[in-house]
Symmetry: C2
Subunit: 220 residues, 2 copies
DNA sequence: GTCCAAGTGGACGATTGCTTCCACTTATGA
DNA sequence: TCATAAGTGGAAGCAATCGTCCACTTGGAC
């Protein structure tokens, strides 16, 4: 509180405006977690205790709001890649990256949807960031392959496969994360050049009641 | 055409009503494939060349329409389970099941969403079907484990994990199916008791441009 | 051919969410 | 303390979709 008024003045933004912006972001994360990223803008505004106009002033589009709300998570992803490259053992670096990103998706409800939504867009300004991420990840893959731990036919695009599949899982089943951990364990195992059955995290509590194989064919 | 009028009369449904019902189902599959299962009901009606009232008469809720549209696929799933139990080699039966269901999800756009949507609902009438499916699948798993091909810590609930993850992938990336095939290959491999790196289907054409790791942190 | 119940189409009111606009409030610098 | 421009709230105008209602049409039994 004490610091904000000066810091604020410096970038020409009024203190209350900056405070409201934060409240909106907090509210957005909460609402997105609860109702998905398609939740009404007005709901976010109400939760933040501000009017809709205030929300629109700070975030002119839903997309901007979503990006703002999950910018922190996106940064954590980016950091995980840097960290992964710094790990001495290439396989452990690779594993670290996959596990970190999946853990983020598992823990912050709403983030997976934002993640997928952000997908098709390889727009101008971010293109450079993406290119760098792509290059870095490819480096990580090559190193892990050279060390003999990562199977040689793993392709960098497989990361997208893993992440999208994982997003789908945690979105469909926002449970305690058991399913997510199990999927990640299975996949990491099959990425090894020398696959060995290691112990898995416990299975989900889900019964197979889930399996909608049963046709309601006598369609009543 | 020739047959329908008699068959129809038999169950007390007018021939034109039955014909319209079919047209609606065809239209629904097309529209759901194109715009997702949340597409407006009116769009389906227009595509079918009928009024909205007709649509609502046959399918009072969107849910009923979705179930109607994909009943065939659901039946194919059920049949795959029966077939799988009939395959002499238990592992091949298991593999057959997973691959068949995933292939269905991959090929019929809109079906995966319907599949996931059908999920939480373990309603009364279908409960018995599901229970049977669950029991049969558990049998399949036990047999494959007894034969030594399926890892012993595979849990029947892992099927739900696979299918939901796969749904998420094909929903996010309705491409040519390369990603789907690759995921399935990875997973089946990690389900083996004696994992061995077999050749994978080719990777997706996706570049990693997809990876939205790059934060747009200088949020402009 | 005639009749009538089953079936149909499209208009309509209700609901929900988006976005803009403008009169009011308030932080800030002098 | 005051002036002022930045910031704010909520109402209002739109647009999309839902699901129902009712007057009209048509299949099929006789």
């Amino acid at each position: 509180m004490a610091e904000s008024s000066r810091i604020t003045a410096r970038d020409g933004v009024r203190a209350d405006a900056r405070r409201n912006r934060e409240r909106v972001l907090v509210a957005a994360r909460a609402v997105f977690a609860e109702h998905g990223i398609d939740a009404p803008m007005a709901t976010v505004a109400r939760r933040a205790g501000v009017g809709v106009a205030t929300l629109y002033r700070h975030f002119p589009t839903r997309d901007a709001l979503v990006r703002g709300a999950f910018a922190q998570q996106m940064e954590t992803c980016a950091r995980a890649l840097t960290e992964a490259l710094a790990v001495p053992d290439p396989w452990q670096g690779f594993q670290h990256l996959v596990e970190t990103v999946c853990a983020l998706q598992r823990e912050e409800r709403g983030f997976p949807a934002a993640f997928v939504a952000a997908f098709p867009e390889s727009t101008s300004e971010h293109a450079q960031y993406r290119q760098r991420a792509e290059r870095d990840f490819t480096t990580l893959v090559r190193r892990a392959q050279a060390s003999g731990a990562l199977r040689s036919d793993f392709h960098p695009s497989d990361l997208a496969v893993v992440l999208l599949a994982h997003c789908g899982l945690v979105t469909a089943l926002p449970d305690d994360g058991a399913a997510s951990r199990r999927l990640v364990a299975y996949l990491l195992q099959s990425f090894r050049a020398d696959p060995v059955n290691k112990p898995l995290p416990p299975p989900t509590a889900l019964t197979l009641r889930s399996f909608p194989i049963a046709t309601d064919s006598p369609q009543g």
